[in-house]
Amino acid sequence: MNTNTFILSGLLLLLPGWISAQEHPLILRGSVETDHRLMLRGDQDWAWNENRLDLTLEKRVSPLRVVGNVWIRHLGPSIVEGSGDLFHKDKINPWNLDIRELYAEVHGFLFEDLDMKVGRQTIAWGTADRFNPTSNLNPHDLEDVLDFGRMMGSDAISLQWHFSHQSSLQTVYIPRFQPASMPLRPFSDLFAFPFEIPDIIPAPGTSDQLIMPRNNFSEGATIGMRWRSFAANTDYSLSYVYGRDPLPLPTSVTLSINQDTGVPHIHATLVYPRHHIIGADLAGSIGRVGVWGEMAVFIPETELIMQVHLPPHQMPIPMPDDEVILKKEPYTKIVVGSDYTFANGTYMNVQYLRGFLHERGRDQLSDYLILQTERTFLQNRLRIQPLAGGVSISEWDDPANHHAWFYTPEVSYQGIDNLVVSIGGYFFDGNGNNIFAGMKEKNMMRLHVKASF
């Protein structure tokens, strides 16, 4: 079943009810955003140029609700390479259409306490702030890697049974696998898998092949369920997901050297391994302080070994050994957080993370401490985030060489209703194999304007 058929089936199933009544008007809402980021080092290149129309259409005919959310965007600079490209407007002004969500939702489907949602949707689980290790149904949308926590919509059927006003069981079936999108430049190599080659070999060319799971009922599907409830003044949930890692891992690497030119080449084969994920989260308060915690145990289905090959008849060269990329042993990602608003109005949010979204395996998890402070002035018109950022340590045995920090201050001003102008900065530094250390040459300033309608 392809995407269109899947969505269409859901809509056709619900169409009779939809056309039978017109008690609510069609709602159109959204925003126009423009986002520009300038690199502060080198030649001050533009790192990001985006103009986005975020459009949501909603029609409600109780108990049915149909929602569509699309982004129409002009993204990035011209990609003309030859004069022939000047005849293609989409290369002069690259643009794309992104269907973020498109679903039908029924409250009280078949039974009064059963809600059904079918179509492209994002399903956000977890109680932590933006970093949610238990939210694994949708693939990460890493296109704009600085927009942490953004997910892509998935074609899914979600059934949620409400046993009481506080307890519910949600089951989700996603029929086909969808990989995560990778960051655009200047962060396009951020999640590249490191492969060490002998020093005697010059920098190689690279290519790869993704082994996608078969697009059928069993291989590409993801299932999930979540029990949610409330006890001792605390919200909690338990969840389970069986699916595939949305970020690929290498299973084989072939290093070849052109016998005539001596130019080396690396070809990698990548797969999306399957895993079970058992999650738990809670949110509540201690005194007046907000607290939350979230934990996900990832259980890889198979061990993954990256085999290193030399083609037959290749001149022998010293090669790295085969490497276990992912052990068949559970590993746990954790987020613990807290927030508080001081008497002077300063809001503070602190989170500790063990394991970022791309880190897999017990010995690969790093520790992160993330802080955000915010203060508003002029009746919320002016919003300042003077202290926003964090630190990470990837190896506690040698923190001096395996640490990073990032600092992301921002000032926003809403001079008139529905228009917010923000100016901010992204600053990174660090050493070692650490995601934020990998950004350290890419400090930038940002101007973002959002007009809502």
Binding site: R29, S31, R65, H107, D115, T122, A124, T127, H162, H165, Q166, S168, N233, D235, A283, G284, S285, R288, V289, G290, V291, W292, D339, Y340, T341, A343, G345, T376, Q379, N380, R381, Q414, D417, N418, V420, K450, S452, F453
Partner: protein
């Protein structure tokens, strides 16, 4: 059991002796008046209304917010913004025992919020989350003093020992005839007067209801008019309205 009762009676007698009979009688009157005010303010089994919030700065410039409010009993309330566009859909659910949730459509899920927000401005208005708390005054405050004018009872409230409030005291002017509040002066923890709320009441059926609250923040020289329209009582609001299931349905 008997021994315990004897001890309690002795303790009450001791309190009477220490406080003075006249002062106790005045406090009792104040408590009665406060409870009667609660009965007026929290009239009806449930209530729903549309709200217009007009934010007025020191230059007289106005900004307008619109919302829908549903309330059941004295401690279940749902507040959902409908305008302006940038804030439409943002909703706040208040449940018993200071359980509060905020829903932001952009994130697609609710967020549990702790009581540290109570002293914060609600959506840029001059009302704090505490001002909008759906809980009877007599459950949160102790009346400390009483003064009577031709038209008003004037009582002074102080937070009960186990209640977390950002007000050190509140002075309320209560209409003698109908027992609705007409004016509230709120004092910060340092004892400084910093907010004044002026109430306009109207009658619908058997119930008096708040038609408008004009809240002035004396420190910020800023005020907010909260105007209630389309007020309806006892429409049989379902408990389902005050759930996360409904909160996230936008």
């Amino acid at each position: 059991m008997y021994a315990m009762k004897t001890m309690m009676i002795k303790a009450l007698l001791l309190l009477l002796a220490l406080s003075g009979a006249g002062e106790l009688a005045m406090a009792a009157d104040a408590e009665t008046i406060l409870r009667r005010m609660d009965d007026v303010v929290f009239a009806g089994e449930d209530q729903k209304s549309s709200i217009t919030l007009i934010l007025i700065d020191r230059s007289g410039h106005e900004r307008i917010r619109e919302a829908r409010v549903w309330q059941k009993g004295v401690n279940k309330r749902l507040f959902r913004f409908t305008a302006p566009a940038a804030e439409a859909g943002i909703a706040f659910l208040s449940l018993p025992d200071e359980v509060m949730y905020l829903y932001m459509p952009a994130y697609g899920r609710e967020r549990r919020i702790a009581s540290h927000v109570k002293n914060q401005s609600f959506a840029g208005t001059d009302f704090s989350y505490e001002d909008l708390e759906a809980e009877k005054y007599s459950k949160r405050f102790s009346p400390k003093d009483l003064e009577e004018t031709e038209d008003h009872y004037i009582i002074q409230l102080e937070p009960l020992p186990d209640v977390r409030s950002d007000y050190s005291k509140i002075i309320i002017h209560i209409n003698k005839k109908h027992f609705y509040p007409e004016k509230m002066k709120s004092f910060d923890r340092g004892g400084q007067e910093f907010k004044v709320a002026e109430y306009t009441f109207d009658k619908k059926g058997d119930y008096w209801y708040t038609k408008e609250i004009h809240m002035t923040n004396l420190k910020r020289d800023h005020s907010t008019r909260m105007i209630f329209e389309e007020v309806a009582f006892d429409t049989g609001l379902d408990d389902e309205i005050f759930t996360i299931r409904n909160l996230t349905r936008y």
